[in-house]
């Protein structure tokens, strides 16, 4: 299997950056862990994109596509139980900078093809997912799982507040 060492070396960068993010995920308050996990998912997706080009197997793009679609779902699951999506401008900036910096050279390397369209879709999903899941919202009503001591006085007692979360709007 012919591999392209340049792209694989580039794939090493997000992989190595995952180590300090692991430290953040393993220690700290749940909100910080959530932000770190969000960043880890973004870095993993970028590592998969670069590895797909490095191993010259376009079928590995499906992995990045799956992660781009499921990572926001995972982050929202955690956010539901932590008490809202925490604001993380750091992650948002990294997403807006690193994703185009990865996707555009890959598109250039692949030329005009279906693969490039797939790359652009993956890139758009990654940016949209990362930006929205680091935008920050107010406390949700289910903040009692990760912080049983601190989340007990949330606004849930008022029921159906001003934030219109009721379906059927």
């Amino acid at each position: 299997m012919r591999t392209s060492d340049g792209w694989l070396a580039a794939a090493l960068v997000p992989l190595v950056l995952l180590a300090p993010v692991l430290w953040r995920v393993a220690t700290g308050r749940p909100r910080d862990r959530l932000i770190a996990l969000n960043l880890a998912q973004l870095l993993a997706a970028l590592a998969l994109l670069l590895a797909s080009q490095g191993f010259a197997r376009s079928s590995y793009l499906d992995l990045a596509l799956l992660l781009a679609v499921l990572a926001p779902a995972g982050t929202l699951v955690f956010a539901r139980f932590v008490g809202g999506v925490p604001a993380a401008p750091f992650v948002r900036r990294i997403a807006c900078a690193a994703v185009p910096a990865t996707v555009l050279p890959l598109c250039a390397a692949g030329g005009v093809s279906r693969q490039s369209v797939k790359l652009l879709v993956i890139g758009a999903l990654l940016v949209a997912g990362s930006v929205v899941t680091s935008s920050g919202t107010q406390e949700s009503a289910e903040a009692d799982v990760a912080d049983p001591a601190g989340g007990g006085t949330g606004p849930g007692a008022a029921g159906g507040g001003a934030e219109g979360g009721v379906p059927g709007d």
């Binding site: 079928s59 590995y60 499906d62 992995l63 596509l65 799956l66 679609v69 499921l70 926001p72 779902a73 929202l76 699951v77 956010a79 539901r80 809202g84 999506v85 999903l125 949209a128 997912g129 929205v132 899941t133 935008s135 919202t137 107010q138 406390e139 949700s140 009503a141 289910e142 606004p155 849930g156 029921g159 159906g160 507040g161 934030e163 219109g164 979360g165 009721v166 379906p167 059927g168």
Partner: protein, 258 residues
């Protein structure tokens, strides 16, 4: 049977198993190296049956019987969860409160839901060509549906998820897999043999029965995971102990553990 009798029976069976296992282990090829006789033959067979995804060929064609067993394991696990987590006599169902979700998150969830569904169906449909298949795609489809829970509300999820229909779908997937095997047994050489036309290499309609079995597994896994999550969600969001505390089997109130 007494307890000692059971123990003796177990020890006898364990002894026979240990002896057979030791003989088998001594006969294994050494670890590592360049010789992969099984792998070479499996890939050769996959290419001969025009299946681009060799793993799918092994899973759904060469060893389709094993995959039937694995699918049944998932089916049994979901069945076990449904039985264990059902609402019992001492529990009552309550209305869940609406969750507060920001408008941005809600929009992301509702935009991501059809995309995730499409990706899941794409992974299932292309199981014979690219990495993926029924299991992976089925899990993605089930997760996509639950985006409604995390990005909107539990009640929004309940609207699109009549659990009995998904239970039917789960059973239908399992049934379809078995029926495909029965049909191939009636039509040709053996249970779950590949009797459909093999098509063109790397085309969507290639590899014969792999496509059908992929679809059956995809349906079974998606519906099974939705039912599984439904039992968990019911317990965590809706069901609570009835007023007066938990009750024992005959309806008398039990004491609260301190």
């Amino acid at each position: 049977m007494t307890r000692r009798g059971r123990l003796r029976l177990f020890l006898l069976a364990a002894l026979v198993l240990a002896a057979g296992y030791a003989v088998a282990c001594l006969d294994l090829p050494p670890f590592g190296g360049d010789r992969h006789p099984y792998g070479d033959r499996a890939v050769h067979a996959a290419l001969a049956r025009r299946t681009a995804n060799a793993v799918a060929s092994v899973n759904f064609d060469q060893r389709a019987m094993d995959t039937l067993g694995e699918e049944t394991i998932l089916f049994a696990a979901v069945l076990g969860a449904v039985v264990l987590l059902r609402r019992t006599a001492g529990e009552a169902r309550t209305e869940p409160e609406p969750a507060r979700v920001s408008a941005g998150v809600r929009r992301l969830g509702l935009a991501l839901l059809p995309v995730a569904l499409l990706v899941g169906l794409y992974v299932v449909a292309h199981g014979n060509v690219t990495p993926g298949g029924g299991f992976q795609g089925g899990v993605v489809v089930a997760t996509a549906l639950h985006l409604l829970y995390v990005a909107a509300d539990y009640r929004a999820l309940e609207r699109i998820r009549p659990v009995s229909r998904y239970e039917l779908g789960d059973a239908a997937g399992e049934f379809a897999y078995t029926m495909t095997g029965v049909c191939t047994a009636l039509a040709g050489p053996a249970f779950l043999a590949n009797v459909l036309p093999l098509g063109t290499f790397r085309a969507l309609a290639s590899a014969g029965t792999v496509v059908l079995l992929n679809a059956a597994v995809g349906m079974e896994v998606a519906c099974g995971v939705v039912v599984l999550l439904a039992t968990f969600l019911d317990q965590a969001v809706e069901i609570a102990d009835a007023p007066g505390g938990p009750r024992s089997a005959d309806g008398a109130p039990e004491e609260e553990p301190t």
